[in-house]
Symmetry: C2
Subunit: 392 residues, 2 copies
C-alpha cells in the first residue's frame, strides 16, 4: 500500500487579518496579519473527529504529502507516512499540515513584507517560539471548524510542537505522537544551531538581516544546512553511504584539494547545502532555530513532570537508537514525566542506523505501531469513522 499517494494536492493559504485575529506572542509583541500556508489530505468526517495535525521540522513546510503537479519527482516530506493505507491513512483520517510562523514557505515570517514598511520584515520580525507556532496553528483549526484533533504528530521540531500542543490545548488533542524529539533543547543542539546562525551572520550578504531574496546570504545558509545535515545522519549511515570514497583521483596540487571536493561526502554536503538555499530563507533559519533553542517544556525544572499537569492526551513516544541529535534518553525523559502524571503513554525505541532522519525514513518500523495506536483509540469510540472503512 505504501506506493499509494494522495496524488496532486492544492496548497492553501489563509490570512487572519481581523482585529480579533491578532496573535499576542510569548514575547508580548503582536503579530498581524498572519498568513498560514497549509495542506489537507483526506476528508473531514461529519462530526469533525478524524483530524490529524502533522507538525513539520526545522526545514519542512506545509507540503507533507502528494505532489503539487503531475510528474513531479519528489513528493511532500512525509509522503511515506501520509496517504491511502499508510500510517496516517487518508482513507480514514483528515490530515492537516501547515507551515510554521517564522517560516518562509507561505506562512508569515521574516521574509514576508512588513506592511508598515513595504520591505521584508528581516530582523524586524518579532521573536517567535514553539508556543507561538502552535497557537497560530490552533487558530487554523478554529478556521477549519475543528475543535479537537484525533491526533497530533511530528518528529524533531515537529515533536516539540506536538508536546506543546498537547500541553497548551489539553481539550483539543486526544492522541499525541512526538517522534525523535525532546522536552527541551540540549546544550549540544543549541551549540550546533548557533554555529549555523554564526555562519549566516558572517556572510556579508546577510547585512544584519536586511537583504532581498536575490541577494541572500546563500554561502552562510549553505554552511548552516551542512552542519544541520550531518547531525541528522549517523556515523554508521555516513560510513555505509560514503565511507572514504574519493570523488576524483588524487591531485598533487594542494590548492585543488580545498576548492574542489575530494571525497564523495564533501560533494554530497555541498550539494545539500546549495540545494537548501534555493528553498529556504536565511532569516527564517535564524528565527526557527532560535525558537527551537528556546524550547523548554518545564523551564527551571530538572524534570519535565510539571509540564504535563492538566494534560489529557494519550501519548505514543518514539525514538531511534542511532539518533544522536535527540537521543533516546531524551524521549525517555518525556515518557517518565507523562507517567508521573498518571497519563497513558506507549514508548518504543526503534532500532535503526539512520540517525535522526530515521523518523522520515523508517516507515516500515513505525507504521504498525502508529496505525495500531490510532485505531485502538478509534475502537474506544473517541471518534466515528465516516466512510465505513473496515477496522481490521
Amino acid at each position: 500500500m505504501r506506493e499509494a499517494s494522495v496524488g496532486v494536492v492544492k496548497p492553501k493559504q489563509f490570512t487572519f487579518s481581523g482585529p480579533q485575529d491578532e496573535l499576542v506572542l510569548e514575547s508580548g509583541q503582536k503579530l498581524s496579519p498572519i498568513t498560514l500556508a497549509y495542506e489537507t489530505y483526506g476528508e473531514l468526517n461529519s462530526d469533525r473527529s478524524n483530524a490529524i495535525l502533522v507538525f513539520h521540522a526545522l526545514s519542512g513546510d506545509a507540503h507533507a504529502a502528494g505532489y503539487h503537479k503531475r510528474g513531479e519527482e519528489k513528493p511532500g516530506w512525509w509522503d511515506i507516512a501520509i496517504g491511502p493505507g499508510k500510517m496516517f491513512d487518508t482513507n480514514r483520517y483528515f490530515v492537516i499540515c501547515s507551515n510554521v510562523i517564522g517560516g518562509c514557505r507561505g506562512s508569515t515570517g521574516p521574509s514576508s513584507v512588513d506592511l508598515r514598511t513595504g520591505r521584508p520584515y528581516g530582523l524586524g520580525f518579532p521573536l517567535v517560539t514553539i508556543k507561538d507556532m502552535v497557537n497560530a496553528q490552533a487558530m487554523l483549526l478554529d478556521h477549519l471548524g475543528i475543535e479537537t484533533v484525533l491526533a497530533a504528530a511530528g518528529g524533531s521540531m515537529g515533536g516539540f510542537q506536538v508536546l506543546q500542543f498537547a500541553v497548551s490545548y489539553p481539550n483539543r488533542c486526544r492522541l499525541a505522537i512526538p517522534i525523535a524529539t525532546a522536552g527541551r533543547q540540549s546544550a549540544q543542539n543549541i551549540a550546533f544551531d548557533e554555529i549555523g546562525r554564526q555562519a549566516i551572520m558572517a556572510d556579508p550578504r546577510w547585512n544584519k538581516g536586511d537583504y532581498q531574496a536575490w541577494e541572500a546570504p546563500v554561502d552562510g545558509l549553505s554552511i548552516a544546512r551542512m552542519v544541520g545535515h550531518v547531525t541528522y545522519l549517523s556515523d554508521e549511515t555516513l560510513r555505509r553511504k560514503f565511507g572514504r570514497r574519493a570523488k576524483e583521483s588524487v591531485c598533487a596540487n594542494g590548492g585543488s584539494f580545498f576548492r574542489e571536493p575530494y571525497f564523495e561526502i564533501e560533494s554530497y554536503l555541498r550539494h545539500k547545502g546549495n540545494a537548501f538555499t534555493k528553498r529556504f530563507d536565511a532569516n527564517s533559519y535564524l528565527y526557527i532555530t532560535r525558537a527551537i533553542d528556546l524550547f523548554d517544556l518545564a523551564p527551571g525544572c530538572d524534570s519535565l513532570e510539571p509540564a504535563f499537569r492538566g494534560c489529557k492526551s494519550r501519548f505514543l513516544v518514539l525514538s531511534f537508537s542511532s539518533d544522536w541529535l535527540y537521543p533516546p534518553y531524551q524521549s525517555q525523559e518525556i515518557v517518565k514525566a507523562i507517567q508521573e502524571n498518571g497519563l497513558s503513554v506507549e514508548y518504543h525505541m526503534i532500532e535503526s542506523s539512520y540517525g535522526h532522519d530515521a523518523f522520515l525514513l523508517e516507515a516500515d518500523k513505525i507504521e504498525d505501531i502508529i496505525s495500531r495506536f490510532l485505531i485502538t483509540d478509534s475502537r474506544k469510540k473517541y471518534y466515528e469513522v465516516d466512510k465505513g472503512y473496515p477496522i481490521s
Copy 2:
C-alpha cells in the same frame, strides 16, 4: 606530583636547507627549506635511549609543556602529562614535541614566506599528509642524533602520527601510544572538517588563500573552530557545564536574539572561535584538516591488518567511552589489526564523560596505565635510565 612543571622552556627551531634535506612529499612535490619548531623537556641519556616523541593534534603546536615565560597563565597543551613525576616523566625521559609541517606555529606551512615569491605560500603550499608530517619529524630525530625513540605518543591527529611513525619507521619506535584516535578518518569526521573548510573559504577575506595575517579570514576560521570544538566535547559535558543557562534576560526584540548570544554555550563557543583566530592560520586549518581526512593506514582495505605488517612496536591503545569523534570502536579496529599481526598490544577503554577532549583532561585515569607501560618496557632493559631514578 602533578603540580610539578618543567618550568620555563625555550622554543627551538631548526631549518633543514641543505640539498640533501629536501623532503619529497607523498604527492611527489618537494618541500625545501623546512623549518621545524620544537621543544624538548628532560635530558637525553648517554645512549640516547630515553626519548619520547609526542605528536600534537590539529590545533596543537610544539609547546606541549611548561611556560614560555614566568608568570604565564597557561602552560603547554599537554602539561598535565609531561613533567617531573608525570606520566611522561621528565626526570626519566627526554620528551620532544615539534610543530607539524603545514602548521602555523613556527614550522613551515602555508603562512610561511615562499622564498621564490617573497609572499606567504597560501595555496601554493604543497599538499602535506600525515606521512609527510612524520617524515619531517624523523628528520628532526636525525638532527638530534636519536635513532630510536623509546615511545611515540599522541592523541587525535597526534595518534594518527603515532600509528604512521610506528608503521613507517619500524626500527625507530619501541613503544607506540595512540590515544583517542583511529586508523583512518571516518566519513562523519571528513564531513565536519569539510564544513570548517567551507566556512573559511566562504569568508571573502580568504581570497583563495591569498591574504596577509592582518586581513585573515577570521570569521570563517572562527566558525570552523566552533564546529571542531563541539565535536571535541560530549552531550553530557555540555549539559553539565552549560545546560540551558541563559546569558541575559530574555529580550523581546527578536533581532538581539541573533546578534548577541543568548545562552551561555553560545557565548562560550563564540569566545573559543574568536580566541582561536588569534593563534591559528586559516590556510593551515585547510591543509591540516585535509591531511587528517586523507589519513588511511590501509587504503582500500576493510581491515587495518595490512598496515601493521613489518611493524615492531609494542602498542598501548587508549580510547574514551564518550568520545564520539574517534569512538572506541575505531580504537578497537586498531587493536584487532595489531593482534592479527602477532604484535603486543594493551588496550584500555577509559570511562569518561569528557568526550574526545578526555585525552587532554583525564590524566588521573591514564597516567598509571601509561607510566606502567613505559616502565615495564624499561625493566626489559630496552633502555637505560641515566639518572639512577628508582623504578618503583
